[in-house]
Symmetry: C2
């Protein structure tokens, strides 16, 4: 169907949950998903290509991009800036391509402010069983340790609230299946389809 | 994950769109979807088994079911009642099974009143191209004919408004892929998952 806009997919979740691994596995699958390229001020490493691995920018240029609202989200780690250029993402979506951003939760919340209609996917730790085991441990944990784990788990779950979907990363391939199903289902959402049909009727008239 | 309730899936759409064919193809696939069994007052045909093809009921019994709100939807065609028994559907959902109802649009709207949280899937005619061709025809149509087709198309599209998803039935197998993706995606919805996580946290506490 022509003129259908692409989806903005945001894959996020607690650090260490396996966002990068899932995203890499997804890249190896047949799909039309486009992967967003981040901008950074850090120096290119051997073999890294500008516009492929990153858009490499000077500090001045990056700060200018921030000032001109050219980034969907950004953060500073260890004296280097990292961010998602808005232009690349928006042009891909306009062309009808689904774009995925794999980012930290703070970045995801920045994107949500700018793109509330994006599809926000929270990658969550392996399983409920695993979560319970991690909290309760093997019965050898101190009360303090259990309290601490409960706090972390509760914070993670409270973050879910801001997302549309929760994908459990029990197995990488299963997590990919779920993400692909979400993409396909989102394309079938009534709101998207009815717009296309109404447009067609107008054209015919 | 234990204690997760099943989904109520309602597959509907204009008559002749291929609901039955898509539903049969879906049955041949590996999935945990349970198919709702309708109740009817018509006589069993050769080979039809009570509780499998239909729940066969007398007129009196059927009217009693209507009066006691034991049907999610019902209608009368050619002097026979047809309907969806509520009890079977609800018990399957409670057991965690996804149940699919393949019904006419009028029935789907009745179900929506009783089960607003069901997943309503509108099966739509083959493709946008096909729809346009059907309306405009081969350039040999009268203005009246085109107006009539426009009215039908507009009515169909207005019906979509009440559904969650629109699945184009361009190819039966593709339509099945989309429905299965919707089922998987619905299970990943934040609202469902967060409830389970919060429940687990409460249990641990």
């Amino acid at each position: 169907m022509e003129n259908e806009k692409g989806l903005l997919l945001v894959l996020s979740g607690p650090s260490g949950v396996g966002k990068g691994t899932v995203c890499s596995a997804l890249r190896n699958r047949e799909s039309n998903i486009v992967y967003s390229v981040s901008a950074t001020t850090r120096a290119p490493r051997a073999g890294e290509v500008d516009g492929v691995n990153y858009f490499f920018k000077s500090r001045e240029k990056f700060q200018q991009m921030i000032a001109q609202d050219q980034l969907l989200e950004w953060a500073e780690y260890v004296n280097n800036y990292y961010g998602t250029p808005r232009e690349y993402v928006e042009s891909q979506i306009e062309q009808g391509n689904d774009v995925i951003l794999e980012i930290e939760v703070q970045g995801a919340m920045q994107v949500k402010e700018k793109f509330p209609h994006g599809v926000f996917i929270f990658l969550s730790p392996p399983s409920m069983e695993e979560l319970k085991n991690r909290i309760v441990g093997r019965g050898t944990e101190t009360d303090d340790s259990i309290t601490n784990r409960m706090t972390v788990a509760t914070e993670e779950i409270d973050m879910m609230e801001h997302y549309d979907y929760v994908v459990v990363n029990d197995e990488v391939e299963l997590a990919c299946d779920r993400i692909q199903a979400i993409v396909l289902a989102e394309h079938c959402k009534k709101e998207r389809k009815i717009k296309q049909y109404r447009k067609l009727l107008k054209e015919v008239k």
